[in-house]
């Protein structure tokens, strides 16, 4: 008998968080009820979401100036703006360093530029889910002008030592882009203590905003040319794209509901406190690791994650089959496949992909136990067939 009547257990928060806090949904509704905020016509009826959003993000990330915060559609959009904008300012071919832990949001733009002959690209490998900062430093040549790496792995849940990399690159003429998609909202961030040139975030994951909002913090925009031009509502008499922040990169009508959701999501996180969030995430991650480790038919790829992400396979079963069985039999949502990180998977599972579990603040311990039992049951049956 299929257990379709079971309540949904959502363990795919590393992709997009669900459910959203009630305040987020309310904030989106309110933003749509208010008159459009552009121009002066709506006067006091409007709310300045842009200023409030920049201030909220900057304060939450420990970044001194809200003026460095630029909004985008998502992290992929932000990374494309930064990578292509940086390349556009460089007339000559240059050397770029990235890692095999990256998401396709980094890998594909860089691969495209490599194929076009605009860059030389090196991928630094990892060991025990971590990229050794020394390996990046050793890969730097006199032609290196850009390093792009993630802060947290979306498959292995490891947090990279961006501080060490940033400190080294700071004194060189090397632009440093950090993809913080998986860490923003999961761990306390104090960007003021880290040397980087651009830090990318997305709103719809651990920051609990809605899909369609993300952005980046950029300290030195000069080497990143705008690659898209259009209306900004400022300096409209000029046909040139304004050069200042944020107009240099923010074009067209803003995603006000998205920014409202981001403000509400961050406000929700602040109301709980990052310590409490981390404690629950650590407890639930440990619960999964302990439970799944006890079943001989399960291979865990990250036995010691720092983020609430667990990656595993059940030998003898395709990872997609495991996801299918969990969804159809137990109403449990996980993510299977390559998680848009093909180079990482080549290193851990020969490119076959795996199953990823990612709980959130709204996941209960009981749900974790039910999910762990369901996974163990599948493994037990698969194991007994071998």
């Amino acid at each position: 008998m299929l257990k379709k009547e079971n309540p949904l257990i959502y363990l795919n928060n590393a992709a997009t968080s669900w459910p959203k806090p009630p305040g987020v949904i309310q904030a989106v509704q309110e933003s749509l009820e208010l008159p459009f905020g552009g121009g002066r016509g709506t006067g006091k009826a409007q709310r300045d979401y842009l200023t409030e959003g920049r201030e909220t993000v900057a304060q939450f990330f420990g970044e001194e100036s809200p003026d460095t915060i630029v909004f985008s559609s998502n992290a992929t959009d932000a990374l494309n703006t930064l990578i292509h904008g940086f390349t556009a300012s460089s007339p000559e071919k240059f050397h770029v360093i990235t890692t095999t832990l990256e998401h396709n949001s980094v890998l594909r733009p860089l691969h495209h530029l490599e194929k076009k002959g605009r860059i030389e690209l090196d991928h630094i490998s990892f060991s025990n889910a971590k990229v050794n900062p020394e390996a990046i430093i050793e890969a730097v040549t006199d032609k290196t002008r850009l390093v792009v790496m993630n802060h947290g792995s979306n498959v292995l849940g490891s947090v990279q030592d961006i501080r060490a990399v940033g400190e080294y690159l700071h004194d060189k003429d090397i632009f440093f882009i950090v993809d913080g998609s998986q860490t923003a909202g999961h761990i306390p961030l104090d960007l003021s203590a880290i040397e980087f040139d651009a830090f990318v975030f997305t709103g719809h994951k651990a920051l609990f905003g809605m899909p369609g909002i993300g952005g980046f913090c950029i300290r030195n925009p000069d080497p990143v040319l705008p690659v898209r031009m259009g209306g900004t509502g400022t300096d409209s008499g000029s046909l040139d794209q304004p050069g200042g922040l944020p107009e240099r990169y923010e074009i067209g009508t803003h995603n006000y509901p998205g920014i409202a959701s981001l403000i509400a999501g961050i406000t929700f996180l602040q109301s709980i406190g990052m310590d409490a969030l981390q404690r629950r995430a650590d407890r639930q991650t440990e619960l999964f690791i302990k439970e799944l480790s006890s079943e001989p038919g399960i291979t865990i790829y990250n036995p010691d994650p720092e983020l609430p992400i667990i990656a595993f396979n059940i030998p003898g079963l395709d990872n997609d089959d495991v996801g299918y069985i969990l969804a159809r039999k137990d109403n449990i949502v996980v993510r299977t496949g390559l998680h848009c990180a093909p180079l990482l998977h080549k290193e851990i599972d020969d490119g076959a992909g795996c199953v990823r579990i990612s709980p959130s603040w709204f996941t209960t311990d009981e749900e974790c136990r039910i999910a762990a039992d369901a996974i163990k049951e599948i493994a037990h049956h698969a194991y007994s067939q071998i």
Partner: protein
């Protein structure tokens, strides 16, 4: 047996094309006994009412649960134009619990000839 509708279409990481099909009746052990003549069948009988996976090499795979009136199919993209027809034939040749091996054997032979030609040229 026949397909009522399909939904949840997507391209998978391995390049195959996935479709979920809603059927007019439940998948029974007898139906699986029928289709296993045309590919390989794996089962995990202890899970729910039984998870099954049918693989027709070079063509498509089907996964689902016994006694459910839906299943998920992954078509190999290069030959999907032939193989989706065969999937419909496979269901059509199992009416009211009665398998029609003669018709499906004929169609299977024709299908595999076309698939081999498409995937491997004229080499046998």
């Amino acid at each position: 047996m026949r397909i009522l509708r399909s939904n949840r279409h997507k391209y998978c990481a391995d390049g195959s094309f996935m479709k979920e099909f809603i059927l007019d009746t439940e998948v029974t052990p007898e139906f699986l006994d029928f289709i296993k003549h045309y590919g390989s069948l794996e089962m995990l009988p202890g899970l729910g009412e039984g998870f099954y996976k049918f693989e027709k090499s070079d063509c498509f795979s089907i996964k689902g649960f016994l006694n459910e009136s839906s299943f998920e199919v992954r078509f190999k993209k290069e030959v999907m134009d032939f193989t989706s027809d065969f999937l419909y034939s496979m269901l059509y040749c199992y009416q009211d619990g009665k398998p029609d091996f003669n018709t499906l054997n004929r169609r299977n032979e024709a299908l595999m000839k076309r698939v081999r030609t498409r995937l491997h040229g004229n080499k046998s």
